[in-house]
Symmetry: C2
Subunit: 934 residues, 2 copies
């Protein structure tokens, strides 16, 4: 139905035949609830929506719920698919249910003496807060308002309810929208005009007569905006509201919310019609929301807020400051006792923290809603662990209760929320980008990695700001508190490295106009120069001018134990519950969890966060050390194999030392080392001044160096001369890397008496022959080192599966591979033909038009990329039954992707260190789900 | 065995047991041939090699073949796999076969009185000319040379044979190599020194005594180079030669040749040991090669060359000019009659043109070899067609006889081979590149597309020289006679467009040092400036200084009939035979053949060359017209949808006119039109001067234009904002293109009363949703145009399958696609993760190390990319049984890829116009093979 047409009650009598046909095969579309005859229960979320199912459940528990009925989600689906038409028989069912409510309350809908008033609310299978429409006080008209006034003995209350109803109905059902550009709706304008006429400041200063005048104004507004009269017939009102709620399932907001939250459109919403109870009927009335535990900390304490003489919207709107629930104990001891009894009962019944809505009408408590309460990550962990201790739930249930992503909150430094609100109010919010690395950071702006390193060395906190980052920036990124880029997405270099480092990162803040040369940027009309303070919130993507304080997460403080342990008591509890949950997760999961790390300190962090090995050590990250980069560049610029080998010889001891450090930390855990992967030009400078400086340093002519750099430039470096293609053209590179790592392994084995377990991984293999050629070099080198050093270490040679062709021919590749590791970043790039670095121009449009239900770089595309992985697993294990298979792409830290890895039967997932807890929990959940499904 | 060790006869007596075991299960390793006891025949190529099988066959036919025996290819495999060891029993078998030869000729191997001499030659399953080793005159030593002298009554001949034997044996078996840097071998030096001492000019002036002296010198050379004595024992000589021939199967030259020609290494070579006959035993002796038809033209005439008193190598070496075979009729009427009888007999027997080797020893004819003769494309077509007419072979056999690629020769302008030889001799060969577009072209060098267009407009022949080409260069490429690039491979833009245009192209000539700014290039120490003449041979990849004349191919002249018809008679025959073969091919094939074309004149060319529709019309190529490019650029630079639509409105009539032209030419044949595909920055200039000019033209600030161009620059444009991603972000582009094409189709339908059949193809689809969004726009636009114009035309909407994900989810995609077309260029790029534009840095190393057996961009990788295609075909047809599926990548014109397309059950292949004859023949062969296999 279109909103501007006047609602009309559907005629049901004509549909008698269809009705009886329908009746014979379905349990009905309308489910009553109340003190008797409640058909629904909590298991019926699919049909009744969450709100409807829980209202029925509360009725079944004998709790005081205003009577009503739920129109099922099936009707919504019918409504959507049939252009707003209802299934046959619905009108009769609604009438019957309505009659039951009338009987229970002894009031009649539309009765002028003792009118029944209704609320009409949406209620989908999962909560979609604020996304769909609600109508309150329904059933009021020029006659019933008089009855309400008489019954409540409160003229002003009755006319206020009436004018609120017309306003809400006009907006929600009849589509009266903002009239002016400032978005003020005509009802509010009329209200303001009235207050000006009456020379009063507050709504509450208007009396019943004023409000009666307003009712007339509101009806006139509806007529002039919609060319329809406000419907006086309560049944027309009811069907108008029902239609509006069903229609709101497909409004833009709701569709966008569903897309974001992976809620299928075919679920539909139910409509809950319930007798009105009034919290605003006087001083012994009130309304509130409460939680059975503290949703922020998880503490086991009854937590909530309420307002006396108010309707629900008043609590939410924040015009009056609500009171804490404790004060209700004194104010209304009877209702409070009852409420407290009910909250305990409900938590025990649902075995989960509940979010409750209640109204007190003239001293009598009514429950309007209960549902599992939203909670912070801290609360989620604590509640789950506490409930196991309390015997409410099992360890397995506790593990399933915590969203793995929520663990992020326990690990990241935080801004004080009050500070953020204040900063925004003060106009300090500069712009927003993508929340690429969660957490909070503030520091002085620098525009180059070099500056970041220098300033940090002087003890200054810096935020590194770049148009985009490259491997050259690694040291600067390490030195910075946070990273801010103007380009790049959630898996851009900046975002990827930041998450691996556990750095706060806001990426792709397109409004930043960065002038690297002049070391300043413009944003929102302001200029920020090098050295100015900014604060970036990697959890929200917001960027603030100036310095907001941050603090370390407790879990981090506890795990690494170096920092001061202020507020030790509360913090101690967070860490203890975190540790317990992690222990349970480790017991439950079947997949190993490794990390992507390439420095000893990262390895230590990863061990503290629970890694069982390294799934990806990128050797190129080691190349940016001061001494190393020169040798690397000499290697790249070599004109002959001999010259290249001389440079490699200089690099060998340096790289060996890197590997030693890692092997020492990792002990006998497996360490997957990838041979050189990125295109060589990434190691060379591209700015004329830098090139001149390098030419001088290397003693070559600038022109020659420039020419060489240009000759290495590629049109599509992602698909260019990189990965094993480097090692095949320059076998001496692979040989040197293999020698460095095996010499390091042997040395550490001898010194520590613990044998490292290197797993050498050849990148970007597309054909078996590529792997065979590289594996031969690695194995020859290993044997040569073992023979020379008279010590062996166990090792494997394998490959990444990051090209579609490799996945498709994994059966052949497994002939030469002892393990496979899915490099799903590149596999996604090549399967989709999308460069992550360039996706910013069209992915926003893709998300908007729902081309992608998920960002395939964040969550594995199980249909396409997943099919490649299935083919590779099947092929690889057909050739080699005991083939070890893992994943080391970004998806290795994504819970839904980890679930898919479990289904594939992978041996391990590998993720960046700070995602290890998430991966451990997600792997446990995947194992539990698989066990439940098996 | 290593070459420098002295050969020794393997001892066989010790292997008695092994021998008897082997005997019991195999038919033997040695196959005698001669006047009796011939075990082999022509069917046994796998075991005996081509030469051995044909020698046996000739013996079976009773032809005069010197007796001998063939050691099978199985021995070669054993030899390769066992480090040069022979299977047990081989020595005994060879002895037995040798004894048979001795008996037949009444001579003894090693006998001082009447010595048997042998030749030892390789012979693989297919001919590998000059790749492996040969030893002649084997069995001579200080004693047997005396017997030979006595028997031949020719001292000089005997000592000459002896010194030649030592020289050949020293080189081939004992590994005496070039001693100085100029590569002259020590034997030749010793010969020269002797001639200086004797003060003679020619070898023939040396007498028996001189040659005897030379024998001593040669033996000394062997001793000093190898520290081994020349083996006097004929059996040691024999086994040394056998080992050398088997060993030569794995020499570098042979390995490279096999890689190039797709010959598996496991085939191995046979060794043919045959009694020597001497063409150099006097004036009634001689030797020659002959063909049963003219291998250049295919004319049915006995064709050959010979020399009297000469050995085979003298004919080949070209020191003496051989005589035409006709003159043998008078000189040696007896042997000639016999030879003529034999050539007719052999051609009739083999039912194919034969290449023969013969020797006349003292007036007696011996056949040394016969095999199917190599021939030019012209000859291949003519011989195949003639033989059908002669009743020798069926049409189907004729079709299978012609290598489709050979048809290229019939279509391309040609250089006169004599001119090429002369130019090379005169030092005009500048360098070589890849033979990317076959044919010959010469012209004045220009370094920009603009210059090419301007110069061509003035009637000048130009060769466009670029570092690499881009779509902006299209008009210049069209204007040029030939295209030469310094970068890019066989499927680079230059190569691809050149082949589509039928242009001569040499790509990736890396030695060219091009200075676009100064309009000159340096190569091989020479500077070539704009306006200088060069000649490029796209068939060989050679580039010459100066102007070599070219001429049009006859078939082209005949098909297009516009050019002068000189030498009409001979040309007429080529065209007639070509046409007949093509007709047979069209009758035999089951797949349709379409073309990739985007201009009306290309369509006309394609129709003349046999296309049945357009498989790929790239709309972007139309955008480079003078008026259009401005509108295109305005569209790209638009800041709002409205601005963009204004620019598109200007573009609409221009594009409509393009489509009209194509529809008019193509009539009711299907025309697949791809919506806009390349990244937008390809349409914008990148040089500062050009940007300034454009800014002026468009009336925008240079800085803004520069910024916009920079914002469109991508790191990996191949994986960036292109294909349907453009149409999804800017739906108005797709809508305008659809409107232009449907309005054009409707207009042509009304004017010509023939309804065009557009098939609209959405590029770069990775998900069903992308296609659905674009298809909806196309279908809506079509219906809107049909309604407005009151005329319908039949049309389809489909997609390219050019991303792995699209192939993997073709079942879903087919829900919205009425046809699929494999874009195997991009599918290969993404499956392998290789950018064609950047592959030059590592693909040469890949070919060298045999990582790729074929260039996957030239021939479909059936294992990886092919698997994706299989999945797509199966998925697509599961959803839509009558789904039309084709291929429009470069592979659509590659015979081996076409064969795979037939196996996949594709409906059509599409290729560039000048590859149509090749595709038609290849499709016919694929259909015939499938029928034979079925």
């Amino acid at each position: 139905m279109t909103k501007s047409s006047a609602p009309r009650t559907p005629k049901s009598s004509k549909h008698g035949k269809a009705k009886s046909r329908r009746r014979s095969r379905a349990p009905g579309f309308v489910f009553s609830f109340g003190s008797g005859k409640t058909k629904g229960n909590r298991e019926m979320r699919e049909l009744l929506g969450g709100k409807g199912a829980n209202l029925a459940e509360m009725c079944n528990l004998g709790l005081p719920v205003p009577p009503g009925f739920t129109i099922s989600t099936e009707v919504c689906t019918h409504f959507s698919e049939n252009a707003g038409a209802y299934p046959a028989g619905l009108v009769d069912d609604v009438e019957a249910a309505l009659a039951r409510v009338e009987r229970e309350l002894g009031r009649r809908f539309g009765d002028a003496e003792n009118p029944l008033l209704l609320s009409v609310r949406s209620g989908a299978r999962v909560s979609m807060p604020g996304m769909m429409d609600t109508v309150l006080n329904l059933g009021l008209n020029d006659k019933t308002v008089v009855g309400l006034a008489r019954r409540s003995d409160n003229d002003r209350f009755a006319w206020d309810a009436y004018r609120r109803f017309i306003q809400m109905y006009g907006d929600v059902v009849m589509g009266v929208k903002a009239a002016d550009e400032e978005g003020r709706d005509p009802f509010s304008e009329a209200l303001d005009a009235l207050k000006r006429r009456k020379r009063v400041e507050e709504d509450t200063e208007l009396d019943a007569a004023d409000l009666r005048e307003l009712v007339g104004d509101f009806k006139a507004i509806i007529r002039s905006h919609t060319h329809h009269l406000f419907p006086e017939d309560p049944r027309d009102q009811l069907w108008g509201a029902i239609g509006a709620v069903f229609g709101s399932w497909d409004n833009e907001r709701a569709v966008a919310y569903r897309a974001m939250n992976h809620i299928p459109g075919h679920w539909g919403t139910a409509v809950n019609v319930m007798a009105m109870v009034f919290g605003n009927m006087g001083e012994s009335s009130g309304t509130g929301v409460a939680f059975t535990r503290d949703p922020a900390t998880g503490e086991k304490t009854f937590y909530g807020e309420y307002l006396m003489n108010a309707q629900g919207e008043d609590v939410v709107a924040g015009i009056r400051t609500p009171l804490r629930i404790e004060s209700l104990r004194k104010a209304e001891p009877g209702p409070y006792r009852e409420l407290n009894r009910i909250q305990k009962l409900l938590e025990a019944h649902y075995r989960d923290m509940q979010d409750l809505e209640f109204t007190i009408e003239d001293g009598r408590l009514f429950m309007l809603q209960c549902r599992a309460g939203k909670r912070t990550g801290f609360a989620a962990v604590r509640i789950a662990v506490d409930m196991v201790r309390e015997g409410l739930i099992s360890k397995e249930e506790a593990l399933m209760r915590v969203d793995p992503e929520a663990l992020n909150q326990l690990l990241q430094p935080v801004f004080d929320p009050a500070q953020l609100t204040a900063a925004t109010r003060e106009g300090k919010l500069l712009t927003r980008g993508l929340n690429a690395g969660p957490g909070a950071a503030c520091g002085r702006v620098v525009f180059s990695a070099t500056a970041a390193t220098e300033w940090a060395a002087k003890g200054r906190q810096v935020i590194l700001v770049r148009i985009e980052t490259s491997p050259e920036d690694i040291k600067g990124m390490q030195a910075a508190r946070g990273i801010l880029t103007a380009r790049g997405g959630m898996t851009s270099h900046a975002a990827l490295v930041a998450r691996q480092m556990g750095k706060v990162c806001v990426a792709g803040a397109g409004e930043l106009d960065i002038d690297h040369a002049r070391r300043r940027m413009r944003v929102g009309g302001r200029t920020i120069s090098e050295g100015d303070w900014i604060s970036i919130d990697g959890t929200s993507g917001a960027i603030y001018d100036g310095q907001l304080e941050t603090r370390d997460a407790e879990v981090i403080t506890a795990l690494f134990g170096k920092r001061r342990a202020a507020a030790a008591k509360r913090k101690g509890r967070v860490f203890r519950t975190y540790s317990r949950l992690m222990r349970w997760a480790d017991e439950a999961r079947t997949m190993k969890v490794r990390t992507n790390a390439d420095q000893p300190d990262q390895c230590e962090t990863a061990l503290a966060l629970g890694c069982e090995g390294i799934g990806l050590c990128r050797t190129e990250h080691m190349f940016f050390g001061e001494k190393k980069i020169t040798a690397v560049r000499q290697m790249i610029l070599a004109e002959s194999t001999e010259e290249r080998e001389r440079a490699l010889k200089r690099l060998l001891p340096l790289q060996r030392r890197d590997f030693e450090g890692i092997f020492r930390v990792m002990g006998t855990r497996p360490v997957t080392i990838r041979t050189l992967d990125p295109p060589l030009h990434e190691f060379l400078p591209h700015e004329p001044a830098e090139i001149r400086a390098l030419a001088k340093e290397l003693g070559v002519k600038t022109a020659r160096l420039t020419a060489k750099i240009e000759s290495l430039t590629e049109l599509n470096p992602m698909l260019g001369h990189r990965g094993c293609r480097l090692g095949i053209v320059y076998p001496e590179i692979t040989r040197t890397q293999a020698r460095a790592l095996f010499e390091a392994a042997v040395k550490v084995a001898r010194k520590t008496r613990r044998k490292p377990r290197p797993e050498v991984m050849i990148p970007l293999v597309g054909t078996r022959k590529e792997l065979a050629l590289q594996a031969e070099i690695v194995r020859e080198t290993a044997e040569e080192v073992f023979a020379r050093k008279k010590t062996r270490v166990p090792y494997l040679v394998g490959t990444m599966i990051e090209l579609p062709r490799a996945a498709l021919t994994a059966d052949e590749i497994a002939l030469d591979a002892e393990f496979l590791s899915f490099g799903t970043n590149d596999l996604t790039q090549t399967a989709f033909g999308i460069s992550r670095d360039d996706s910013g121009k069209f992915v926003p449009a893709y998300v908007e038009r729902e081309v992608f239900s998920d960002d395939p770089f964040a969550t594995l595309d199980t249909v396409g990329v997943g099919r490649l992985m299935e083919i590779a697993c099947a092929g690889g294990r057909e050739t080699r039954a005991d083939l070890k298979i893992g994943i080391c792409g970004e998806h290795g830290g994504d819970p839904r992707s980890i679930e898919f890895c479990q289904e594939l039967g992978l041996d391990y997932v590998s993720c960046s260190p700070y995602r290890l807890p998430i991966a451990r929990l997600a792997a446990a959940q995947a194992a539990l789900r698989r066990r439940a499904g098996a």
